[in-house]
């Protein structure tokens, strides 16, 4: 066990995978000599050589396109997209190719690969270094989408993603990179994909995703579920948690309209509406691009989450 930051756990997972499996490769923009703009790949090129950890030309389409070809042909690419905001030039490769290759070839060709990318706000990145684009990929059958929120999960989920037979988008909450620390086992272990984590048990309101402790002080008992894998989602866990309290608040940073939080609401409205004692509420980023100076007003932080919890609890 070692006490690590979330980004340290990512780095450790990559090292573990590179050591264990010679078919694993790590590449992307600036991941080699520089070790990544956030230093997630620090030290990898030095330890594993420039054949297995290397920089690429400035083309996300090329990064993902070549990764798919590698994955088809026996390698296990772990590609980095420097910011999730810059994944869109590779959207066609992800949505049309990685996600559909197994299906369209009847399983003859597959793309087992991992796309790691930092996402989310909180670093004063403005429109293009802050976005949370999970919904685009969660609407894409064939993709898996994973978001860790603790160092332990980051390493275990990343190793599970690398071992997975399907393409996985691994979204790293960059605001948490160095903000959270925790115990992380040495060597190989995995956290099973498509399982949720109960962050906190409670009876009054179910909060889906990460949330605050402050509501409890106001006498509301909050049950918090961290989804960990957004797709394929463990829907039953969400439905059970919703039924338990009869009140649901979902929190995501992305814009609300057609976002992931809406999917949670829809699942609840379809499978547990008889249990609901209050509106199913979403606390999300606004339906605007991501601002810069005022990002603290944009983010669905504790103040907004608590406000929603109180409203739902007192409905």
């Amino acid at each position: 066990m070692a006490n690590m930051t979330l980004i340290g756990a990512v780095n450790d997972a990559l090292k573990t995978a590179l050591r264990e499996d010679p078919s694993v490769l790590v590449f992307g923009e600036d991941v080699g000599k520089k070790g990544g703009v956030f230093l997630a790949t620090d030290g990898l090129q030095a330890e594993f050589g420039a054949d297995r950890c290397f920089d690429t030309p400035l083309s996300e389409d090329g990064i993902i396109g070549t990764a798919i070809g590698m994955a088809m042909n026996g390698l296990k690419p772990v590609a980095e997209i420097q910011f999730q905001d810059f994944i869109f030039p590779a959207f066609d490769q992800i949505v049309s190719e990685a996600a559909k290759l197994r299906y369209r070839s009847g399983g003859q060709y597959t793309a087992p690969m991992v796309i790691r990318t930092p996402y989310g706000g909180g670093i004063r990145g403005g429109l293009y270094h802050s976005q949370s684009g999970e919904a685009y990929f969660c609407h894409t059958p064939g993709m898996k989408v994973v978001i860790p929120s603790t160092p332990y999960d980051a390493k275990g989920l990343l190793l599970a993603a690398i071992a997975d037979p399907d393409p996985v988008l691994f979204m790293e909450p960059k605001a948490l990179y160095r903000a959270v620390k925790g115990e992380v086992p040495e060597g190989h272990y995995t956290v099973e994909l498509s399982t949720t984590r109960n962050v906190r048990e409670g009876d009054d309101v179910t909060v889906v995703e990460k949330a605050a402790d402050m509501a409890a002080e106001k006498g509301i008992s909050v049950h918090v579920v961290d989804l960990r894998t957004l797709l394929p989602l463990d829907e039953s866990a969400v439905v059970e948690a919703a039924k338990k309290t009869g009140r649901v608040v979902t929190v995501t940073e992305a814009p609300r309209f057609c976002g992931y939080a809406g999917e949670i609401s829809a699942i609840v409205a379809e499978r547990a509406i008889e249990y609901m004692e209050a509106p199913v509420v979403r606390v999300t980023g606004f339906d605007t691009p991501f601002p810069n100076t005022l990002e603290h007003h944009y983010l669905p932080d504790a103040r907004r989450v608590i406000d929603a919890i109180e409203k739902v609890a007192n409905f």
């Binding site: 030309p57 070549t66 590698m70 390698l75 060709y109």
Partner: protein, 372 residues
């Protein structure tokens, strides 16, 4: 642009007395027969489409030499990343036309399990003929990635990415060429300049003086060959493969050819291809030219072509009958192969669909095997 300024073996060296193509007669005949098989397949697909039995097909008339010439220069363990106008490559290496017909009908024996449109083949045996995708250009960087894997493992293989003139404008062309140049990946880029991208004439697609010259932007050598000359295409691809296997990196080959028909069975080219252009190219038919060469050198008897074509037709016709007699895919094929394992939400959607189909009496034979 005329093709006379291109390096052409059939029109050049092959005209000389005692010319030795360096290829066995057996192999020459296999190339010839494969071109005829492609044409027979096309002809039958057109009939099937016109009679409403299949929805769509893509004609190859005019470009058979490019496909077959390229395939003949490569080995069975090389990887093919084809376009939808490349299936002669698969035929050359022994893919059975019956397996291709299963795809045309999207039936239960289709390797794509009836999920793709016709002509979107996928094979792993006897060659890696990688699942064809409709979005253009995406396979180009994929071929480079597959080639990188070969290189990393020290294998003696190459990847071929084949695409049309229009596809050079896609992102995949740009990223694939960029990465291949930098990585010196063992990949061959085959640009089939067949005159048009649907209705867009090749000379309006780009202002560059040729497609081959586009290699300059990526440090990738570019060559331009007569695409209606099987020997020229074969020679260019053979040389590129040799370079690639020797670790010298990628090559871009522009094969100048012509699509002697519409883009697909849904397209009427008369709106945009002048008659004169068809007339000009009719004289350069790649099968006729190769046939004349084979007859001239005595490899083929004047009476044989007709027999060979008839034989190909019969083979394809039998394939088509076999495919038509095969059941459609089972309902479960909608829900499988999205992931390696079927996740809960897809499983329950499948169960609902199966239940509804059963209730409405629509479940087909085989649907009972629904393994959800």
């Amino acid at each position: 642009m005329t093709i006379t300024d291109l390096s052409s073996i059939l029109d050049g060296p092959a005209q000389a007395e005692g010319f030795d193509p360096g290829i066995s007669d057996e192999e020459l005949l296999h190339c010839y027969r494969t071109m005829q098989l492609v044409r027979a397949f096309d002809d039958i697909c057109l009939k099937l489409q016109r009679s409403g039995r299949i929805g769509f097909s893509i004609p190859n008339k005019g470009i058979e030499a490019t496909q077959v010439g390229a395939a003949s220069a490569l080995r069975k363990d090389d990887w093919f990343f084809p376009s939808y106008r490349d299936f002669g490559m698969a035929m050359y290496h022994g893919v059975d036309p019956t397996d291709m017909m299963h795809n045309m009908f999207g039936n239960s024996l289709d390797t794509a399990r009836g999920r793709q449109m016709p002509v979107h083949f996928s094979f792993t045996d006897p060659i890696h003929f990688v699942s064809i995708s409709s979005p253009l250009g995406t396979h180009v960087p994929q071929a480079v990635g597959a080639a990188y894997a070969m290189k990393l493992r020290g294998e003696d293989k190459v990847a071929l990415a084949s695409f049309g003139d229009g596809s050079t404008s896609t992102l995949g062309f740009h990223s694939g060429m960029s990465f291949a140049g930098v990585w010196k990946a063992p990949v061959i880029f085959l640009c089939q300049n067949n005159g048009y991208a649907i209705s867009m004439p090749s000379h309006e697609q780009t202002a560059s003086s040729s497609y081959a010259i586009k290699g300059k932007a990526y440090g990738v050598p570019g060559v331009r060959v007569d695409g209606n000359d099987l020997l020229s295409v074969r020679a260019a691809v053979a040389e590129a493969a040799e370079r690639a296997r020797a670790g010298e990196g990628p090559t871009l080959i522009e094969a100048v050819t012509f699509r002697m028909g519409g883009h697909s069975t849904s397209d009427d080219p008369s709106a945009y291809v002048p008659d004169s252009e068809f007339a000009e190219w009719r004289d350069k038919d790649p099968i006729d030219r190769f046939e004349r060469f084979l007859i001239q050198r005595g490899t083929l008897d004047v009476a044989e072509p007709e027999l060979i074509y008839a034989d190909c037709l019969a083979q394809v016709d039998a394939a088509s009958k076999a495919a038509q007699a095969t059941a459609p895919p089972a309902l479960e094929t909608i829900f499988s192969d999205v992931y390696a394992e079927i996740p809960d939400h897809i499983r329950s959607q499948g169960q609902a669909a199966f239940e509804l189909a059963g209730r409405l009496g629509e479940a087909a034979a085989g649907d009972g095997a629904f393994p959800l």
